[in-house]
């Protein structure tokens, strides 16, 4: 069985010259749940965008057993479910159904199968009643769940979430955590929510200034207060 994510010595500079990744290496096993933490601007989002070839840095990236190169991008995007920080960017159809159906329709699945996928994905995120609702009017928490459903409908091998609990009220946060806890799938989640990290993620990776500065069991790293403080984090 392949690693889910293999990154070797990844470097990336934005077009304006800003160097956002300076030699990042990371391996994630199938069904592992890994949290990616670090201060704003550490490069978490940049790293994540390399995992389905939206950005292309120098270095090697393999995802779900495939090297991230142009010929594989279609396959990789079907296997990686990427949920962006702002759900509004992901919801651009008149109804929830259309949004969740986007991935399966794009893959060319027959109509009946699309429908089954959509219903299943919405059931997983507990939003089955929202099929015909207008995404625009939902609350942030609801939008977040729909955004997750839009990638679950593609049946991905790996789920990647960028700051999933940012901006949620306590109840929405709690129910999102429950949802993530019950999903049995490889997961890489960037977050500032240390409480959630401690609760859900056995492994934690700390990034700062484009580098990975620590990688290990969450319990151990959380106990090292000096390490956390040095990288702008707080012990929960």
């Amino acid at each position: 069985m392949h690693h889910s994510i293999e990154i070797e010595q990844l470097y990336y500079s934005y077009p304006d010259g800003h160097q956002a990744l300076r030699g990042v290496s990371l391996h994630v096993e199938p069904c592992e749940k890994v949290a990616l933490v670090g201060p704003n601007g550490a490069g978490k989002s940049t790293l994540i965008l390399h995992l389905n070839g939206i950005l292309n840095g120098r270095g090697q990236v393999r995802v779900a057993g495939l090297p991230v190169v142009k010929e594989n991008l279609g396959k990789i995007r079907a296997r990686v479910g990427m949920v962006f920080q702002n759900p509004d960017d992901q919801l651009f159809s008149p109804t929830v159904y259309d949004d969740v159906a986007f991935g399966p329709i794009y893959q060319g699945l027959p109509q009946e199968e699309v429908r089954q996928r959509v219903e299943k994905a919405l059931a997983v995120v507990n939003m089955s009643d929202y099929l015909q609702r207008v995404s625009h009017h939902l609350s942030v928490g609801e939008k977040k769940r729909i955004a997750i459903a839009t990638v679950l409908s593609m049946d991905p091998e790996i789920l990647i979430l960028d700051e999933p609990t940012a901006g949620l009220d306590p109840r929405a946060r709690r129910s999102l955590m429950k949802l993530l806890e019950n999903l049995d799938i490889t997961m890489l989640v960037s977050s500032h929510d240390m409480l959630m990290v401690r609760e859900l993620f056995p492994r934690m990776v700390i990034m700062d200034d484009g580098c990975i500065v620590a990688d290990g069991p969450t319990q151990e790293l959380m106990a090292d207060e000096a390490l956390l403080n040095a990288h702008g984090l707080e012990k929960p």
Partner: protein, 326 residues
């Protein structure tokens, strides 16, 4: 191969150099008049919300023009936005928003020329909006409060705004004797009849989302703006005029050629003057080739001199800095 330029993604923005001065200036004057009238109208319709609403939505139209969809073989469809702007905020605000979008494109991104800006505003702003308004409003009137009016109206308004703007570009190029009418008009019309379908589909998609989320923005009572009837007639007139003029001009290019010749005043002045006073081109030189060479030498000297002067002053400045730091 002759069609290639008409296939580029944004063949609507005419750069400088392609329109004769007279055509440019007439269209500038016309656009300015329409903009002035729109400003007056918008004041009455939108009141004090106008600046933030039009400013931000103009930025959204600019950004929305980047959204694309794959058509086939590496080509993609884009949005121009005149129709959706008209549908959302009414024709007067749409004219102003398209003016801002086209203006920033010319001024900052050199997408379209500055002298040609009047023409570009005229094509994408004024007549794109006027014909969209005419079509959308007519269909909404027929459909009443039924939703198919929004979508059919939106599709046709978007389609016609593209086709009409493209025909206007072709006519202006032909009038400027830059592109022959019998090639430019059929090429632009044919290709934009297809591109217009893309615009229409994107517009339907946008309307579907807005209709689902905020139907209040599409209520037909919002469309009855002051001065709207005059514009409705204007849109009809423009559509008719182009529909009649374009096939005429492309099948009788000589007619257009004749019109074009009437305005080439400098060009017509050129021949006789050249014969009468050839010696005065540059005193003592009666030969145009020699004048060209002289201009080349003179130009090179200027450029060279300035380059030297700049290099020298930079060096002096740097030396000065070095001295100061020591």
């Amino acid at each position: 191969m002759l069609l290639a330029p008409f296939l580029s993604p944004q063949p609507m923005h005419i750069p400088d150099g392609f329109l004769s001065p007279l055509v440019s200036i007439i269209l500038w004057v016309f656009s300015i008049l329409v903009i002035a009238y729109s400003l007056k109208r918008v004041n009455e319709d939108l009141g004090e919300r106008q600046v933030p609403l039009m400013g931000v939505l103009a930025a959204a139209i600019f950004a929305g023009q980047m959204l694309n969809f794959t058509v086939a073989g590496g080509t993609s469809g884009h949005l121009m936005g005149a129709a959706i702007a008209t549908i959302l905020l009414g024709p007067w605000a749409a004219i102003l928003m398209m003016t801002t979008v086209v203006g920033v494109q010319a001024l900052i991104f050199q997408d379209g020329g500055l002298l040609a800006l009047g023409a570009n505003i005229f094509n994408m702003g004024v007549i794109g909006v006027a014909t969209s308004y005419f079509v959308y409003r007519s269909i909404r009137r027929i459909a009443g409060e039924k939703s198919w009016g929004v979508f059919l109206g939106g599709f046709l308004a978007a389609w016609i705004s593209i086709v009409v703007a493209a025909l206007a570009v072709a006519l202006q190029l032909a009038l400027s004797r830059t592109s022959p009418a019998n090639i430019a008009i059929p090429a632009m019309a044919g290709i934009h009849a297809l591109i217009g379908v893309g615009e229409g589909l994107i517009t339907i998609g946008a309307l579907a989302l807005i209709y689902a989320a905020r139907p209040d923005l599409l209520r037909s009572s919002k469309q009855g703006v002051t001065g709207g009837n005059a514009l409705w007639v204007g849109g009809l007139a423009i559509a008719l005029a182009l529909a009649i003029a374009s096939p005429l001009a492309s099948s009788h290019p000589d007619g257009l050629e004749w019109v074009a010749e009437q305005q080439g005043f400098l060009n017509t002045a050129r021949g006789p003057l050249y014969q009468i006073i050839p010696d005065y081109v540059f005193p003592g030189i009666s030969n145009q080739v020699a004048a060209t060479i002289l201009a080349g030498v003179f130009g090179t000297l200027i450029v060279f001199g300035v380059a030297l002067a700049v290099a020298y002053s930079r060096r002096k400045r740097r030396l000065g800095e070095v001295r100061q730091t020591q």
